[in-house]
């Protein structure tokens, strides 16, 4: 039942959109012209942006609790 969800999450994790470090490395492109992906460029990066935002909030919440 949860196969679809598992695959969606694993794909997003594998895409590297959730890592902060890869944000600069993906900006190389051809002759260095490719701009880094921003929110609204494509649906996956939009979702990744909001997932990162939620993770940050969750971290803050756990820090506040401890």
């Amino acid at each position: 039942m949860s196969k679809m969800a598992r695959m969606a999450i694993n794909n997003l994790n594998k895409s590297g959109l959730l890592d902060d470090a890869t944000a600069t490395s993906t900006a190389k492109g051809f002759m260095g012209n490719k701009k880094p992906k921003a929110v609204g460029d494509d649906p996956t990066s939009t979702v990744a942006h909001f997932v990162k935002l939620l993770r940050k909030q969750r971290k803050e919440l756990s820090n506040a609790n401890s």
Partner: protein, 178 residues
């Protein structure tokens, strides 16, 4: 995980093949254009839904009972697809966001949850045990021993090749003896 026993399923109450084609085209919510088509709108919809104390309370109690978040998010998403809120492809894109929101809810409520990201149980051990039992039963019934590393299938094909037909072949393509 709860499972349904085949004996409890009412076979005569199942849908008839082709029953879905008897209703008028476009009469179902998922056959109409979705309410939201953009990922941002769908995420906003889920944020609004999760802000509802009734729904979030239910979600927390479900998570507390040990249902994995992936399963819960998929059920939620599929239900909304069925109601015509969004399409299934947008739903799949949004699943990580729903899971993250559920995690946030669980953390806020102080509930321990299961993410459900690990693969399902490996059944190879069970399968090998079943095969071993089948070999033992075969040995008991026939009184023959199967040497190690040789399967039943190999033995069967070997026998089939060696066994000569007493009356010759009677197949359609067989050449008769002149």
């Amino acid at each position: 995980m709860p499972t349904v026993s085949p004996s409890t399923v009412d076979k005569f109450n199942a849908p008839i093949p082709g029953e879905s084609l008897t209703s008028e085209q476009g009469s179902r919510p998922w056959q109409k254009p979705p309410q939201f088509s953009k990922v941002e709108d769908v995420m906003n919809y889920y944020v609004d839904k999760m802000s509802d104390p009734k729904l979030s309370g239910n979600a927390v109690s479900i998570m507390e009972s040990g249902v994995p978040l992936t399963m819960l998010s998929e059920t939620l998403m599929t239900a909304n697809v069925m109601e015509g809120v969004h399409t299934i492809d947008v739903g799949i894109l949004v699943i990580p966001f729903i899971v993250e929101m559920l995690e946030y809810l669980a953390d806020e409520a102080g509930v321990k949850y299961e993410l459900g990201l690990e693969e399902e149980e490996d059944n190879s051990v069970v399968d090998s045990l079943a095969a071993k039992k089948a070999f033992e039963r075969f040995e008991q019934e026939t009184g023959r021993e199967i040497p190690e590393g040789e399967s039943l299938e190999q033995e069967d094909t070997g026998e089939a090749e060696e066994a000569p037909s007493p009356e010759g072949s009677k197949g359609l393509m067989s050449r008769g003896v002149m």
